[in-house]
């Protein structure tokens, strides 16, 4: 899970462990985050008398993390290219409201086609995604081409998109939503994959992990790069598959649905998050666009002189962000089975925090997609762990704030130490 930009150029006096990890193409920061997550989970489990590490709580945690995690994957690319997007919470609220308008007003009333059609959720989602891309393109154009600072453009967006919600229906709550659309939220009897489909997805995931290890080894062979020892590659593949099997066997399928009485399986929003993570990682690491983003973030002048169309690259990061906001908006409104005017308020702060805890640097050029997803999981673990312990929300805010500062402080100290 390393990206080449993140690794220090020529480590002179790095610790043996660190250089060992680096030469094995393992991101030491990612390892550290996984360890931190383990510590948090075990601590909460001890404090809550075993309530935390139950299939039910971990399943809830997986669903609760998705919305922020999905947006955080996009925020990584925005921050890597030295920008910021403060509008994501408002945009999520706006897109969620529009998608709900499609389902509860426009299709049934304006077009007089009735509720609960087979195509309702598809149209709603398509409108949301298209509008998200459009809004992203608008903001990205202003940042990339007109060169208005992203902070200003998206601060404006934060006010605009939230304000526009009140242009529809005076901003009253729209509920209930289409029942098929509701499955995107993971609630109810049919919001997850169930027993055998979860194993099918697990099988595919395991195959993908093995394929990526094999392909990476072939690629390195082809370019005569140093190879990881065979045992390590086998170990990584086995470990990856073990995590998948444990996730399904010990969490998703162990959690018996209180409604149907059978194994719940992986929730649809979590399936969406996994697909988004894979796609975004592929885009960031294997496609030209991703390499341009990191190159631009690492050194904008050099990238521009190197012939990269930096304006377009910047604009595209915002388009992606807009689309991801629409995905998160669908998940959140579906989960709540309602669109409300204050949906996603202050989500921009959670999304930025998740990316930053996940190792994304404001200096540009540094940050990984899986790191941001794990960052979102860590933040949500703290929140739901404290709810389990009945810690009130003002205290939760204090703890999460401290963790944010400590995490980033540790990270930058370690990074300096490595140089």
């Amino acid at each position: 899970m390393t990206d080449t930009q993140a690794a220090p150029a020529t480590p002179s006096k790095t610790s043996a462990l660190r250089s060992g990890l680096a030469s094995a193409e393992i991101d030491s920061r990612m390892v550290g985050m996984i360890l931190a997550t383990a510590v948090i989970w075990i601590s909460f489990n001890l404090l809550s008398d075993g309530d935390f590490l139950t299939a039910r709580n971990l399943w809830n945690l997986s669903v609760q993390s998705t919305s922020i995690a999905i947006m955080a994957t996009g925020m990584v690319l925005i921050i890597v290219s030295r920008n910021i997007d403060l509008s994501v919470g408002s945009l999520l609220g706006f897109l969620g409201y529009v998608m709900a308008m499609v389902q509860t007003r426009w299709i049934p009333n304006t077009f007089d086609l009735g509720l609960e059609r087979w195509y309702t959720w598809i149209v709603a989602l398509a409108v949301g995604l298209a509008l998200g891309a459009l809004v992203g393109a608008f903001q990205g154009f202003l940042v990339g081409y007109i060169k208005i600072p992203a902070f200003i453009v998206t601060l404006g967006g934060l006010l605009i998109w939230r304000g526009l919600i009140f242009r529809f229906e005076q901003g009253q709550t729209l509920s209930p939503l289409d029942s098929t659309f509701g499955r995107l939220g993971g609630g109810g009897a049919d919001g997850s994959l169930g027993d055998w489909k979860s194993w099918l997805v697990g099988g595919i995931a395991c195959a993908l992990i093995i394929a990526s290890v094999v392909l990476s080894r072939r690629r390195r062979q082809r370019y005569d790069l140093p190879l990881r020892p065979m045992w390590l590659d086998v170990g990584i593949a086995v470990l990856g598959c073990a995590v998948v099997v444990a996730g399904i066997g010990l969490v998703a399928n162990r959690y018996i649905s209180p409604i149907t009485g059978s194994p719940t399986g992986i929730a649809y929003p979590v399936v969406i998050l996994i697909m988004v993570t894979i796609l975004m990682t592929f885009l960031a690491r294997r496609r030209q666009f991703g390499r341009y983003v990191y190159a631009y973030g690492g050194n904008p002048e050099a990238a521009e002189l190197g012939g990269i169309n930096t304006r377009k690259v910047v604009m595209m990061t915002f388009v992606l962000m807009g689309v991801l906001c629409a995905v998160s908006a669908a998940v959140q409104t579906a989960r709540l089975d309602a669109a409300v005017t204050n949906l996603g308020v202050t989500n921009e702060l959670d999304v930025i925090s998740a990316a930053v805890i996940g190792g994304t640097s404001f200096a540009g050029g540094i940050g990984t997609i899986p790191g941001a997803v794990l960052g979102a999981v860590i933040m949500q673990s703290l929140r739901s762990g404290m709810v389990l312990l009945k810690v009130d929300s003002p205290t939760q805010d204090v703890v999460v704030g401290l963790v944010l500062i400590v995490a980033v402080g540790l990270d930058s100290t370690l990074r300096k130490g490595a140089k």
Partner: protein, 367 residues
């Protein structure tokens, strides 16, 4: 190429502005004071009531408050004059002065800014024109403050739930910790359940504030409470309708929606629909028409006697700012399945919206 981009953005901006402008036009019919005396030709037209709305674009005021207020004023033999400040505190200040100049004998103010309006309110009172602070407080000792009793809302929420389930494990989902209203509502509820809690009949197994009254956060909180208590939660005292939606979604995921009594307030259409469906037990509702009628009647009374304390139903109230004002507090109405007909008859919600997804005949209001 670039110039064309800029031009198209400019055109788009122009369109946006034009769209906003056209909205203003529809509302500006009210901004030039309209006098309806001639039309109604009242014999007792000696009482002119001037009303300063802060923002008539918000649907509620024109749909519910104004017609009720106007009807009450005309029934009392007075006449109605109004203007619209369009969300501007400065405009509202001059609007109040204009109403005095137009010869209003009593003024009703829905304040945009309860502080900024004080000088013009004081000027009006100095000229002998009494002022009613409508729905929102104006910190001046000489106004008549007319609003719904917000503390009573918390009491009514708890009472409705207590009537259904007076014992067992309760959770309390409160609003924003920075919003004084959340604590008002909680203290109202305490009046009802305090004794049972002290006696151990009710155990509060979870209680938390909710940032920004955000339904999604309320949902996550409720999921945590349900996990920690292994679903053994008997009642959810929730402070508004939005959060009640989140809590009910969390209950629904456990197959418990409709089995655990849940409260709310605001009269949201979605929440009233849930009351009809049986997933929400009570929705404390403030009927805006009632407020309008009360204001109209109070204004007529003030024409006869400009002393606020003389108005029927007025009592002393100490404001957060430390002023002693005369005030009239209206009682909100707790809406349950039994009295859902009230919201339909009031035109607050259509029967179609109220009864969406409700099996016909299960609730009296949904035949």
């Amino acid at each position: 190429m670039r110039a064309r981009h800029v031009a198209s953005v400019a055109v788009a901006a122009g369109l946006v502005l034009a769209a906003c402008g056209s909205d203003d036009d529809t509302a500006s019919d009210d901004s030039t004071a309209t006098e309806d005396t001639e039309a109604s030709g009242g014999e007792g037209g000696d009482c002119v009531v001037g009303v300063s709305w802060n923002n008539f674009q918000e649907e509620r005021w024109g749909k519910f408050d104004e017609p009720a207020m106007k009807a009450a004023i005309e029934a009392g033999g007075g006449s109605y004059v109004s203007n619209d400040a369009k969300s501007s505190a400065e405009t509202q200040a001059s609007n109040v002065e204009n109403l005095v100049a137009q010869g209003a004998n009593a003024i009703v103010v829905l304040a945009q800014d309860g502080e900024a309006i004080i000088p013009s309110v004081q000027a009006a009172i100095a000229e002998g024109v009494p002022v009613i602070a409508y729905d929102r407080l104006i910190e001046d000792p000489d106004v008549l403050y007319l609003t719904f009793d917000n503390q009573l809302v918390g009491e009514m929420q708890a009472q409705a739930l207590f009537d259904i389930q007076p014992t067992g494990n309760w959770v309390v989902i409160k609003g924003n910790s920075a919003d004084a209203n959340a604590d008002f509502l909680r203290s109202g509820a305490e009046k009802v359940i305090g004794e049972a809690v002290a006696a151990g009949d009710i155990v509060i197994v979870g209680e938390d504030y909710t940032d920004n009254w955000d339904p999604a956060i309320a949902q996550t909180t409720m999921e945590g409470f349900l996990t920690a208590e292994n679903n053994e939660i008997d009642v959810a005292l929730v402070q508004n309708d939005g959060m009640a939606g989140g809590v009910i979604a969390a209950l629904d995921a456990q197959g418990l929606a409709g089995q655990v009594p849940v409260s709310g307030q605001d009269g949201d259409q979605a929440a009233l629909n849930r009351v009809a469906l049986g997933t929400q037990s009570v929705d404390v509702w403030k009927d805006a028409r009632e407020l309008g009628t009360a204001a109209g009647e109070a204004a007529i009374a003030l024409c006869a006697n400009p002393d606020p304390a003389s108005v029927e139903g007025a009592g002393p109230f100490t404001t957060p700012g430390g002023n002693e004002v005369s005030s009239i507090f209206l009682e909100p109405i707790p809406i349950t399945q039994e009295n859902l007909n009230l919201v339909v008859e009031a035109g607050w919600i259509s029967e179609e919206d109220l009864c969406q997804g409700v099996e016909a005949g299960t609730v009296a209001a949904c035949p």
